[in-house]
Symmetry: C2
Subunit: 208 residues, 2 copies
Protein backbone atom coordinates (compact mmCIF):
# COMPACT_ATOMS: atom_id res chain seq x y z
CA UNK A 1 0.00 0.00 0.00
CA UNK A 2 1.40 3.38 -0.95
CA UNK A 3 0.54 5.84 1.79
CA UNK A 4 0.49 9.57 1.06
CA UNK A 5 1.92 11.99 3.63
CA UNK A 6 0.06 11.62 6.90
CA UNK A 7 0.60 14.02 9.79
CA UNK A 8 2.50 12.93 12.88
CA UNK A 9 -0.60 13.56 15.03
CA UNK A 10 -2.56 10.96 13.02
CA UNK A 11 0.29 8.43 13.22
CA UNK A 12 0.46 8.93 16.97
CA UNK A 13 -3.26 8.24 17.26
CA UNK A 14 -3.11 4.90 15.41
CA UNK A 15 -1.64 2.95 18.37
CA UNK A 16 -4.29 4.56 20.54
CA UNK A 17 -7.05 3.23 18.22
CA UNK A 18 -5.47 -0.20 18.55
CA UNK A 19 -5.57 0.00 22.33
CA UNK A 20 -9.27 0.90 22.41
CA UNK A 21 -10.11 -1.72 19.79
CA UNK A 22 -8.33 -4.32 21.91
CA UNK A 23 -10.40 -3.38 24.93
CA UNK A 24 -13.61 -3.71 22.87
CA UNK A 25 -12.43 -7.13 21.65
CA UNK A 26 -11.74 -8.22 25.24
CA UNK A 27 -15.35 -7.35 26.02
CA UNK A 28 -16.41 -9.66 23.17
CA UNK A 29 -17.60 -6.86 20.91
CA UNK A 30 -17.37 -7.58 17.17
CA UNK A 31 -18.25 -4.27 15.60
CA UNK A 32 -17.99 -0.62 16.44
CA UNK A 33 -18.73 2.77 14.89
CA UNK A 34 -16.87 6.05 14.55
CA UNK A 35 -19.47 7.42 16.98
CA UNK A 36 -18.65 4.83 19.65
CA UNK A 37 -14.88 5.15 19.13
CA UNK A 38 -15.24 8.93 19.35
CA UNK A 39 -17.01 8.61 22.68
CA UNK A 40 -14.52 6.29 24.36
CA UNK A 41 -11.49 8.02 22.86
CA UNK A 42 -12.64 11.58 23.53
CA UNK A 43 -12.43 12.57 19.85
CA UNK A 44 -15.11 13.49 17.33
CA UNK A 45 -16.65 10.93 14.98
CA UNK A 46 -15.64 13.00 11.97
CA UNK A 47 -12.03 13.14 13.19
CA UNK A 48 -12.01 9.35 13.39
CA UNK A 49 -13.47 8.93 9.90
CA UNK A 50 -10.94 11.44 8.61
CA UNK A 51 -8.02 9.67 10.33
CA UNK A 52 -8.95 6.28 8.90
CA UNK A 53 -9.73 7.66 5.46
CA UNK A 54 -6.05 8.59 5.12
CA UNK A 55 -5.44 4.88 4.66
CA UNK A 56 -8.43 4.12 2.49
CA UNK A 57 -11.13 3.90 5.17
CA UNK A 58 -12.19 0.55 6.54
CA UNK A 59 -15.79 1.12 7.52
CA UNK A 60 -18.95 0.19 5.71
CA UNK A 61 -21.85 2.60 5.45
CA UNK A 62 -24.54 1.48 7.90
CA UNK A 63 -22.36 -1.21 9.47
CA UNK A 64 -19.40 0.62 10.96
CA UNK A 65 -16.12 -1.15 11.60
CA UNK A 66 -15.34 -4.77 12.30
CA UNK A 67 -13.21 -4.58 15.48
CA UNK A 68 -10.70 -7.33 14.63
CA UNK A 69 -10.36 -6.28 10.99
CA UNK A 70 -9.71 -2.67 11.91
CA UNK A 71 -7.09 -3.69 14.48
CA UNK A 72 -5.37 -5.87 11.87
CA UNK A 73 -5.46 -3.08 9.29
CA UNK A 74 -3.88 -0.64 11.74
CA UNK A 75 -1.19 -3.21 12.57
CA UNK A 76 -0.49 -3.46 8.86
CA UNK A 77 -0.28 0.32 8.44
CA UNK A 78 2.03 0.67 11.43
CA UNK A 79 4.10 -2.39 10.60
CA UNK A 80 3.37 -3.91 14.02
CA UNK A 81 2.33 -7.15 12.32
CA UNK A 82 6.05 -7.89 11.87
CA UNK A 83 8.77 -8.61 14.43
CA UNK A 84 11.73 -6.38 15.28
CA UNK A 85 15.06 -6.99 17.01
CA UNK A 86 16.06 -4.56 19.70
CA UNK A 87 19.40 -3.52 21.14
CA UNK A 88 19.85 -1.52 24.35
CA UNK A 89 22.66 0.92 25.06
CA UNK A 90 22.76 1.77 28.76
CA UNK A 91 21.70 -0.82 31.33
CA UNK A 92 21.03 1.34 34.35
CA UNK A 93 17.72 0.97 36.18
CA UNK A 94 15.73 2.57 33.35
CA UNK A 95 17.37 0.44 30.66
CA UNK A 96 16.76 -2.71 32.66
CA UNK A 97 13.15 -1.76 33.41
CA UNK A 98 12.48 -1.03 29.73
CA UNK A 99 14.11 -4.25 28.51
CA UNK A 100 11.98 -6.27 30.91
CA UNK A 101 8.89 -4.27 29.98
CA UNK A 102 9.48 -5.14 26.31
CA UNK A 103 10.03 -8.81 27.05
CA UNK A 104 6.87 -9.05 29.15
CA UNK A 105 4.51 -6.88 27.11
CA UNK A 106 5.63 -6.62 23.51
CA UNK A 107 5.68 -9.94 21.65
CA UNK A 108 6.68 -8.25 18.36
CA UNK A 109 9.90 -6.87 19.78
CA UNK A 110 12.80 -9.08 20.75
CA UNK A 111 15.60 -7.90 23.05
CA UNK A 112 18.71 -9.38 21.43
CA UNK A 113 21.70 -7.51 22.87
CA UNK A 114 22.55 -4.95 25.51
CA UNK A 115 25.59 -2.72 25.97
CA UNK A 116 26.95 -1.09 29.11
CA UNK A 117 30.32 0.51 29.72
CA UNK A 118 30.45 -0.62 33.38
CA UNK A 119 32.63 -3.76 33.59
CA UNK A 120 30.61 -5.26 36.48
CA UNK A 121 27.47 -5.28 34.30
CA UNK A 122 29.14 -7.09 31.39
CA UNK A 123 28.38 -10.79 31.14
CA UNK A 124 25.17 -10.49 33.16
CA UNK A 125 21.79 -11.15 31.57
CA UNK A 126 18.81 -8.79 31.30
CA UNK A 127 15.48 -9.74 29.73
CA UNK A 128 17.02 -12.94 28.41
CA UNK A 129 19.88 -11.21 26.55
CA UNK A 130 23.54 -10.68 27.36
CA UNK A 131 25.04 -7.39 28.54
CA UNK A 132 28.24 -6.68 26.56
CA UNK A 133 31.04 -4.16 26.61
CA UNK A 134 31.43 -1.69 23.77
CA UNK A 135 33.71 -3.70 21.44
CA UNK A 136 31.88 -7.02 21.93
CA UNK A 137 28.57 -5.24 21.27
CA UNK A 138 29.98 -3.59 18.10
CA UNK A 139 31.02 -7.01 16.79
CA UNK A 140 27.73 -8.63 17.76
CA UNK A 141 25.50 -6.09 16.02
CA UNK A 142 27.54 -6.38 12.83
CA UNK A 143 26.57 -10.05 12.60
CA UNK A 144 23.12 -9.81 14.18
CA UNK A 145 21.32 -6.77 12.76
CA UNK A 146 19.44 -4.60 15.23
CA UNK A 147 16.23 -3.01 13.97
CA UNK A 148 15.65 -0.63 16.88
CA UNK A 149 18.28 0.73 19.25
CA UNK A 150 17.00 1.86 22.65
CA UNK A 151 19.10 4.55 24.34
CA UNK A 152 19.15 5.29 28.05
CA UNK A 153 22.58 6.84 28.35
CA UNK A 154 23.73 10.15 29.93
CA UNK A 155 24.20 13.20 27.70
CA UNK A 156 27.99 12.93 27.49
CA UNK A 157 27.79 9.48 25.89
CA UNK A 158 25.41 10.59 23.13
CA UNK A 159 28.05 11.35 20.44
CA UNK A 160 29.62 7.88 20.70
CA UNK A 161 26.17 6.27 20.80
CA UNK A 162 25.14 8.09 17.63
CA UNK A 163 28.19 6.63 15.92
CA UNK A 164 27.25 3.11 17.07
CA UNK A 165 23.70 3.51 15.73
CA UNK A 166 24.91 4.67 12.33
CA UNK A 167 27.59 1.98 12.05
CA UNK A 168 25.18 -0.74 13.19
CA UNK A 169 22.84 0.38 10.43
CA UNK A 170 19.81 0.41 12.75
CA UNK A 171 16.40 1.19 11.28
CA UNK A 172 15.15 3.33 14.16
CA UNK A 173 16.13 4.76 17.53
CA UNK A 174 14.02 4.97 20.69
CA UNK A 175 15.74 7.58 22.82
CA UNK A 176 15.11 7.98 26.56
CA UNK A 177 18.15 10.16 27.16
CA UNK A 178 17.86 13.75 28.36
CA UNK A 179 19.26 15.06 25.08
CA UNK A 180 17.21 15.05 21.91
CA UNK A 181 19.04 13.35 19.07
CA UNK A 182 18.48 13.29 15.34
CA UNK A 183 20.31 11.01 12.95
CA UNK A 184 20.38 11.53 9.19
CA UNK A 185 17.96 9.11 7.56
CA UNK A 186 17.16 7.20 10.77
CA UNK A 187 13.80 7.86 12.45
CA UNK A 188 14.18 8.69 16.14
CA UNK A 189 11.45 8.72 18.75
CA UNK A 190 12.62 10.93 21.63
CA UNK A 191 10.83 10.03 24.87
CA UNK A 192 11.17 12.96 27.20
CA UNK A 193 10.03 11.98 30.65
CA UNK A 194 10.63 15.48 32.04
CA UNK A 195 8.57 17.09 29.32
CA UNK A 196 5.57 14.91 29.98
CA UNK A 197 5.92 15.65 33.69
CA UNK A 198 6.29 19.39 33.15
CA UNK A 199 3.23 19.66 30.96
CA UNK A 200 1.29 17.77 33.66
CA UNK A 201 2.47 20.44 36.10
CA UNK A 202 1.07 23.12 33.80
CA UNK A 203 -2.37 21.53 33.90
CA UNK A 204 -2.15 21.20 37.69
CA UNK A 205 -1.54 24.93 37.87
CA UNK A 206 -4.14 25.86 35.25
CA UNK A 207 -7.32 23.96 36.13
CA UNK A 208 -10.24 24.55 33.75
CA UNK B 1 -0.99 35.78 35.44
CA UNK B 2 -4.29 34.86 33.85
CA UNK B 3 -3.63 32.67 30.84
CA UNK B 4 -6.23 32.28 28.10
CA UNK B 5 -6.83 28.83 26.59
CA UNK B 6 -3.65 27.53 25.05
CA UNK B 7 -3.56 24.36 22.95
CA UNK B 8 -2.02 21.19 24.31
CA UNK B 9 0.55 21.21 21.49
CA UNK B 10 1.89 24.58 22.68
CA UNK B 11 1.99 23.42 26.32
CA UNK B 12 3.91 20.33 25.27
CA UNK B 13 6.45 22.47 23.44
CA UNK B 14 7.22 24.67 26.47
CA UNK B 15 9.41 22.08 28.26
CA UNK B 16 11.19 21.56 24.97
CA UNK B 17 11.99 25.30 24.78
CA UNK B 18 13.40 25.03 28.28
CA UNK B 19 15.65 22.15 27.29
CA UNK B 20 17.12 24.03 24.33
CA UNK B 21 17.50 27.23 26.36
CA UNK B 22 19.40 25.26 29.00
CA UNK B 23 21.78 23.91 26.39
CA UNK B 24 22.40 27.47 25.11
CA UNK B 25 23.05 28.61 28.69
CA UNK B 26 25.52 25.76 29.19
CA UNK B 27 27.40 27.08 26.16
CA UNK B 28 27.57 30.49 27.86
CA UNK B 29 25.16 32.15 25.47
CA UNK B 30 23.16 35.07 26.94
CA UNK B 31 20.72 35.90 24.19
CA UNK B 32 18.94 34.13 21.40
CA UNK B 33 16.38 34.86 18.67
CA UNK B 34 13.27 33.15 17.37
CA UNK B 35 15.31 32.47 14.24
CA UNK B 36 18.04 30.64 16.16
CA UNK B 37 15.56 28.73 18.32
CA UNK B 38 13.66 27.76 15.17
CA UNK B 39 16.81 26.35 13.65
CA UNK B 40 17.90 24.22 16.60
CA UNK B 41 14.35 23.11 17.44
CA UNK B 42 13.29 22.34 13.88
CA UNK B 43 10.34 24.76 14.02
CA UNK B 44 9.66 28.03 12.19
CA UNK B 45 10.55 31.40 13.70
CA UNK B 46 6.95 32.55 13.37
CA UNK B 47 5.72 29.46 15.22
CA UNK B 48 8.05 30.30 18.09
CA UNK B 49 6.93 33.93 18.23
CA UNK B 50 3.32 32.76 18.12
CA UNK B 51 3.89 30.20 20.91
CA UNK B 52 5.49 32.72 23.22
CA UNK B 53 2.98 35.44 22.39
CA UNK B 54 0.28 33.28 24.00
CA UNK B 55 1.85 34.24 27.30
CA UNK B 56 2.56 37.87 26.51
CA UNK B 57 5.75 37.50 24.47
CA UNK B 58 9.12 37.97 26.09
CA UNK B 59 11.31 39.18 23.28
CA UNK B 60 12.40 42.67 22.40
CA UNK B 61 12.36 43.93 18.85
CA UNK B 62 15.92 43.96 17.55
CA UNK B 63 17.31 42.16 20.61
CA UNK B 64 15.60 38.81 20.71
CA UNK B 65 15.30 36.85 23.94
CA UNK B 66 17.45 36.82 27.04
CA UNK B 67 18.16 33.11 27.53
CA UNK B 68 17.93 33.01 31.35
CA UNK B 69 14.91 35.31 31.49
CA UNK B 70 13.00 33.26 28.96
CA UNK B 71 13.79 30.04 30.81
CA UNK B 72 12.58 31.60 34.07
CA UNK B 73 9.40 32.86 32.40
CA UNK B 74 8.62 29.43 31.01
CA UNK B 75 9.22 27.89 34.44
CA UNK B 76 6.71 30.38 35.84
CA UNK B 77 4.13 29.55 33.15
CA UNK B 78 4.54 25.81 33.67
CA UNK B 79 4.74 26.05 37.46
CA UNK B 80 8.11 24.28 37.46
CA UNK B 81 9.52 27.07 39.65
CA UNK B 82 7.73 25.39 42.58
CA UNK B 83 8.30 22.03 44.27
CA UNK B 84 5.93 19.05 44.21
CA UNK B 85 5.60 15.94 46.34
CA UNK B 86 5.29 12.64 44.54
CA UNK B 87 3.80 9.29 45.50
CA UNK B 88 4.36 6.06 43.59
CA UNK B 89 1.88 3.21 43.29
CA UNK B 90 3.58 0.12 41.93
CA UNK B 91 7.23 -0.53 42.75
CA UNK B 92 8.17 -3.02 40.06
CA UNK B 93 11.25 -2.38 37.94
CA UNK B 94 9.64 0.51 36.07
CA UNK B 95 8.36 2.18 39.28
CA UNK B 96 11.77 1.85 40.89
CA UNK B 97 13.57 3.14 37.80
CA UNK B 98 11.25 6.16 37.58
CA UNK B 99 11.53 6.99 41.30
CA UNK B 100 15.31 6.94 41.04
CA UNK B 101 15.19 8.93 37.81
CA UNK B 102 13.14 11.62 39.59
CA UNK B 103 15.48 11.72 42.58
CA UNK B 104 18.57 12.04 40.40
CA UNK B 105 17.29 14.40 37.72
CA UNK B 106 14.33 16.43 38.93
CA UNK B 107 15.12 18.70 41.89
CA UNK B 108 11.59 20.17 41.89
CA UNK B 109 9.94 16.81 42.51
CA UNK B 110 10.32 14.96 45.79
CA UNK B 111 9.55 11.25 46.11
CA UNK B 112 7.79 11.05 49.49
CA UNK B 113 6.00 7.70 49.59
CA UNK B 114 5.65 4.48 47.62
CA UNK B 115 3.03 1.76 47.69
CA UNK B 116 3.27 -1.87 46.62
CA UNK B 117 0.94 -4.76 47.34
CA UNK B 118 3.77 -7.33 47.51
CA UNK B 119 4.60 -7.94 51.20
CA UNK B 120 8.31 -8.55 50.50
CA UNK B 121 8.64 -5.02 49.06
CA UNK B 122 7.04 -3.32 52.05
CA UNK B 123 9.46 -1.70 54.47
CA UNK B 124 12.22 -1.43 51.87
CA UNK B 125 13.42 1.96 50.63
CA UNK B 126 13.43 3.30 47.08
CA UNK B 127 14.80 6.72 46.08
CA UNK B 128 15.04 7.66 49.74
CA UNK B 129 11.38 6.93 50.56
CA UNK B 130 9.64 4.01 52.24
CA UNK B 131 7.63 1.36 50.38
CA UNK B 132 4.32 0.81 52.19
CA UNK B 133 1.40 -1.56 51.97
CA UNK B 134 -2.00 -0.26 50.90
CA UNK B 135 -3.45 0.69 54.32
CA UNK B 136 -0.25 2.27 55.65
CA UNK B 137 0.05 4.25 52.40
CA UNK B 138 -3.60 5.41 52.66
CA UNK B 139 -2.93 6.70 56.19
CA UNK B 140 0.36 8.32 55.19
CA UNK B 141 -1.03 10.29 52.25
CA UNK B 142 -3.89 11.62 54.39
CA UNK B 143 -1.36 13.34 56.65
CA UNK B 144 1.28 14.08 54.02
CA UNK B 145 -0.42 15.42 50.89
CA UNK B 146 0.81 14.06 47.57
CA UNK B 147 0.78 16.50 44.65
CA UNK B 148 1.47 13.99 41.87
CA UNK B 149 0.73 10.27 41.96
CA UNK B 150 2.81 8.14 39.61
CA UNK B 151 1.17 4.89 38.50
CA UNK B 152 2.99 1.83 37.19
CA UNK B 153 0.43 -0.84 38.05
CA UNK B 154 -1.13 -3.59 35.90
CA UNK B 155 -4.55 -2.98 34.30
CA UNK B 156 -6.53 -4.98 36.88
CA UNK B 157 -5.37 -2.72 39.70
CA UNK B 158 -6.44 0.49 37.97
CA UNK B 159 -9.92 0.78 39.56
CA UNK B 160 -8.56 0.58 43.12
CA UNK B 161 -5.75 2.96 42.24
CA UNK B 162 -8.22 5.51 40.86
CA UNK B 163 -10.02 5.40 44.21
CA UNK B 164 -6.74 6.01 46.09
CA UNK B 165 -5.90 9.02 43.87
CA UNK B 166 -9.33 10.59 44.43
CA UNK B 167 -9.33 9.95 48.19
CA UNK B 168 -5.77 11.21 48.54
CA UNK B 169 -6.86 14.40 46.82
CA UNK B 170 -3.88 14.41 44.50
CA UNK B 171 -3.44 17.34 42.11
CA UNK B 172 -2.28 15.31 39.12
CA UNK B 173 -1.56 11.77 37.93
CA UNK B 174 1.35 10.56 35.82
CA UNK B 175 0.23 7.23 34.43
CA UNK B 176 2.62 4.64 32.96
CA UNK B 177 0.09 1.81 33.03
CA UNK B 178 -1.12 0.12 29.87
CA UNK B 179 -4.64 1.44 30.40
CA UNK B 180 -5.49 5.07 29.80
CA UNK B 181 -7.22 6.61 32.81
CA UNK B 182 -9.17 9.81 33.28
CA UNK B 183 -10.25 11.16 36.64
CA UNK B 184 -12.89 13.85 37.08
CA UNK B 185 -11.19 17.16 37.78
CA UNK B 186 -7.69 15.68 38.08
CA UNK B 187 -5.27 16.20 35.18
CA UNK B 188 -3.71 12.95 34.01
CA UNK B 189 -0.68 12.55 31.78
CA UNK B 190 -0.83 9.08 30.22
CA UNK B 191 2.63 7.89 29.15
CA UNK B 192 2.16 5.13 26.64
CA UNK B 193 5.45 3.44 25.97
CA UNK B 194 3.92 1.09 23.39
CA UNK B 195 2.40 3.95 21.45
CA UNK B 196 5.66 5.80 21.15
CA UNK B 197 7.31 2.56 20.04
CA UNK B 198 4.57 1.76 17.52
CA UNK B 199 4.69 5.17 15.90
CA UNK B 200 8.48 4.74 15.58
CA UNK B 201 7.78 1.47 13.77
CA UNK B 202 5.52 3.34 11.35
CA UNK B 203 8.34 5.70 10.43
CA UNK B 204 10.74 2.78 10.04
CA UNK B 205 8.33 1.27 7.52
CA UNK B 206 7.57 4.54 5.73
CA UNK B 207 10.88 6.24 5.06
CA UNK B 208 10.64 9.60 3.29
Amino acid sequence: MVTPYVSDAVIRRLPRYKRFLRSLKLKGQEKTSSKELAQIMDLTASQIRQDLNHFGGFGQQGYGYNVSDLERQIDKILGTDKTYTMGFIGCGRLGEALANYIRNNEPHFKVTALCDIRPDMQGTEIAGAKVMGQSEFDEFVKKNPIDIMVLTVPADQIPSVERICVEANVKGVWNFGLVEISLPGIPVSNMHLSESLESLVYYINHPD
